[in-house]
Symmetry: C2
Subunit: 531 residues, 2 copies
């Protein structure tokens, strides 16, 4: 079974554990209940990495993970072969006793899941539970201090009252030694036994699993309570659910692979571990300790696109599915180079025969496939053709060292987040200074005008001037050329000395509202504007 | 069809309209994606009506309405018979263009819906859309100002680019008069036509519904745009969905019946009308204008429980289903009095044969059934047995005047909210003053100790004193009696003169944090404590 729900979780868990422990690497993918931020929180080329982290943090506090895919790629004994064990987890937060999570959904994100045939009933009815550390602690504390209160959630007290009344009647009549009061699960049985012990302290009553009650020597209330705690303990263990898999991932310390997986890393931290720390540096440090090797396939593509083109492999888009198809056909073309064969384990053969785009399990499989093939091509290119049959997984990690622990960042003033250390300085965005010659400037009109050249973001400085962040160097050059003799707009490269004063006073005002510092790129550390 | 989804909404709408317009009254019920507040926001007997409104407002901003039930009770021509038309709407917020709602779900609330076999796929895939006034205005504004941008949401621009390229090729070759570029719906067709007109302004191109393109005289770009707006208009009309039913409810001004329906009224205001006003008085005024006659069956029960008991009708619980069963059996007993016969319309016969507790449609039907039967019993009791066959629906409304527009409030310092005017002074809670003789007080221990007497809430004043709000007068009396000679606690009636100073200084501190005034009950307007 590839789909993991609460119905088969306990049963599949040993296989999950084994495959994770034996894996060369593990690929990960998440679906979200919401994604885009509201209003002022939309992503912008003006965002510093610190500011982007704050946005992601807000997002992670609100939204949840309805589905999480893991694929363990286990090296097979013979040949360059990997067996792929894919698990497509449906995840629904626990609600029991003091634990009751809130999750926000964005209408458009759920509609997006609809487009990919997501089963919401499977999610909410049968999703595997999970707990943060705090929630687990709360439960364990309550279990110690007032197990009886915790158990109340099993059923409402009317059941207890009703049964105490019945037992009272039965005791007063003393007809039979045994009476049947219905069927319960083990926890309800113990709960009842505790309640009855309190109601009739002088009488010895036993509640059997079958629901029968009879008068035989009974455990003392102390030993009853400790038995009860044992059972509560197993319930909490059950509620932990996916959190146990997460802890296993931390324990294994296997390379973790994802596609554009910054948001994924932020979300799993918040949902299965702890509230996200205030400071980005602490988040980076903690994640790096938990997962010392994280590889983003989007970063590989950005780093080596030119190299792949030189090798005759043209990859028109880095969107996951498109990348997968390109890499797959490249792999076929390069089959002479003994590209790794990936064998889908029989638990998830459905992925062999059809695309299941945006199903987390499928996407994790595809990410791992892309990673392995790209790593192989780069390794062979590095070590020379003769080496193809000798290339090991270790070589793959070596060749990808420059990409490791760099997570791709979309539409910001930096292009990646470095988990292990400091971000490299970025060669973009390129900054332009725009001045209206006659009338006033309108930010969205200006953006509309320039966006056919490149991705741009506009910050008005005052009614007549703006700073524009331009994503691509080619776009930037073309704008400068096309607007050289423009009637109403004067567009120049942003110049630190010339424009600094204006910018300083007006931008700080606008950005202070965002509650963070994201203007370093404007005042210092900015690479030269030569592109 | 009793279930209304986006698949059958347009088709069922005329029937909905007709039954609402012909109804004697309309019963309403809602399901929620979340209900209970977090931490400091739990309901308390200390809550003033103003403060409770603020809590409900916060709740309504977060949570959504996955299902809404309406039952129109239409008087039949002969006899005391009503035909019940039930509609069980699945509702999912719109997301299109600038509109993209966020909805919060509470894990336990979704689990509650699971217990009642709620179909989440039906909700999210097929739920009827709805818009607030603001959202509708935003869409209409965008439709006027940049219809082209709004249409972009229909498909991503890759489709447009691709087709423009194909058409370019076709035009340059000039082989046939007609080319086929695939199938589109009407909006996509228009969108394409606009795009093509912009790309090839000098050529006349027509996009046919079949997806064929040929070169015949084309509409001007102006008339094309206005045609486009017409289509967008019909899309917005479609997105309005349930909001149109809501507007119909306002227009009809029929008596609206619900069970414990304060939360329902707050939520429908926020979701289908406007953001809830800051002030409770404004909310009450606006709702009263929209719905001049709202009757809460929970209020009827509270007002007339003793009277029903005197008539030999014992109603042990006011929970909806239990109330329904009591009333139903009472109705049978009183059949000699010509209780109204309720005939379920053939669209919802499933409710005739089985309980569908906590399905909004079923609950609305049951609420209406309870209202009608109780109103009849009270009317006959008022007018005398001889009148039974002459009793009219007008008599029902007359006899229930004292209950009308009073919505039940749970666990607060008042027992109802008066839509039409001012709340009556409340006979509860009863206030006790507790003093620890030796050690310090623990609020939750004290609550545990007293809650077996009645519902209680505790506010510590300092380490050794507390005010306790007690729900029932009997419980209050029993506490005073049982604790008269208590070793560690001194419990007395709260006395305005004696305790006022202590209370004033410490309670204001605690309650000021809640940001509202909820202590009027302590300082004035409090009925005498004679119970």
């Amino acid at each position: 079974m590839c789909d993991v729900t609460k119905d088969n979780f306990t049963q599949v868990y040993p296989e999950i554990e084994q495959s994770l422990r034996h894996a060369s690497f593990i690929a990960l993918d998440l679906e979200f209940t919401g994604l885009t931020a509201e209003g002022e929180h939309v992503n912008s080329l003006f965002d510093s990495i610190e500011y982007r982290y704050q946005k992601l943090k807000m997002m992670a506090q609100k939204f949840s993970i309805p589905q999480l895919g893991l694929t363990a790629f286990v090296k097979m004994k013979e040949g360059n072969k990997y067996e792929a064990f894919t698990y497509n987890f449906y995840l629904f937060p626990a609600s029991w006793g003091p634990v009751d999570s809130w999750l926000t959904c964005q209408a458009s994100s759920l509609k997006f899941l609809c487009c990919h045939e997501f089963d919401f009933n499977k999610w909410i009815y049968r999703g595997v539970s999970f707990l943060t550390k705090k929630q687990e602690e709360d439960l364990r504390k309550m279990m110690k201090e007032s197990p009886f209160n915790l158990a109340r959630d099993i059923d409402d007290d009317n059941m207890m009252k009703d049964i105490i009344r019945k037992v009272g009647d039965w005791l007063s009549q003393e007809q039979d030694d045994v009476m049947c009061i219905g069927e319960f699960d083990a926890l309800q049985g113990l709960y009842l036994q505790l309640g009855l012990k309190r109601a009739f302290p002088s009488v010895n009553i036993e509640v059997k699993d079958s629901g029968e009650i009879n008068m035989i020597p009974l455990l003392s209330i102390n030993s009853l309570t400790s038995l009860f705690c044992l059972l509560l303990d197993s319930i909490i263990d059950n509620l932990l659910g996916f959190t146990k898999v997460f802890q296993l991932l931390i324990e294994c310390k296997k390379p973790l692979v994802g596609h554009n997986c910054l948001t994924d890393m932020v979300l799993i931290y918040e949902k299965f571990h702890c509230p996200l720390p205030e400071k980005l540096s602490e988040f980076k440090k903690n994640v790096h300790e938990m997962f010392p090797c994280v590889i983003d396939t989007k970063t590989i593509m950005k780093e080596y696109r030119r190299k792949f083109r030189n090798l005759g492999i043209d990859i028109p888009s880095t969107a996951l599915q498109s990348l997968y198809l390109s890499v797959k056909s490249a792999a076929v073309k390069m089959s002479v180079m003994d590209t790794p064969a990936i064998i889908i384990h029989h638990n998830s053969t459905k992925y062999e025969h059809a695309e299941h785009l945006h199903e987390a399990g499928y996407d994790s499989y595809v990410s791992g496939y892309v990673f392995l093939t790209l790593a192989h091509i780069l390794s062979v290119n590095n070590l020379g053709q003769a080496s193809t049959t000798l290339v090991t997984f270790h070589d793959y990690l070596q060749v990808l060292k420059p990409c490791t622990n760099k997570l791709n960042v979309i539409r910001a003033s930096v292009d990646h987040l470095a988990l292990g250390g400091k971000e490299d300085s970025s060669s973009y965005p390129h900054w332009l200074h725009v001045q209206a010659k006659h009338s006033t400037l309108d930010a969205s009109e200006l953006a509309d005008l320039l966006q056919e050249y490149s991705t741009v973001d506009v910050q008005l400085l005052n009614q007549k001037t703006a700073v524009v962040a331009v994503r691509s160097v080619t776009g930037c050059r073309k704008i400068l050329k096309d607007f050289r003799k423009h009637e109403t707009l004067k567009i120049t490269r942003y110049n630190v000395i010339q424009h600094n004063k204006v910018v300083r006073y007006s931008l700080w005002g606008a950005l202070a509202l965002m509650g963070t510092v994201c203007v370093w790129a404007l005042f210092g550390g900015k690479p030269s504007d030569t592109g």
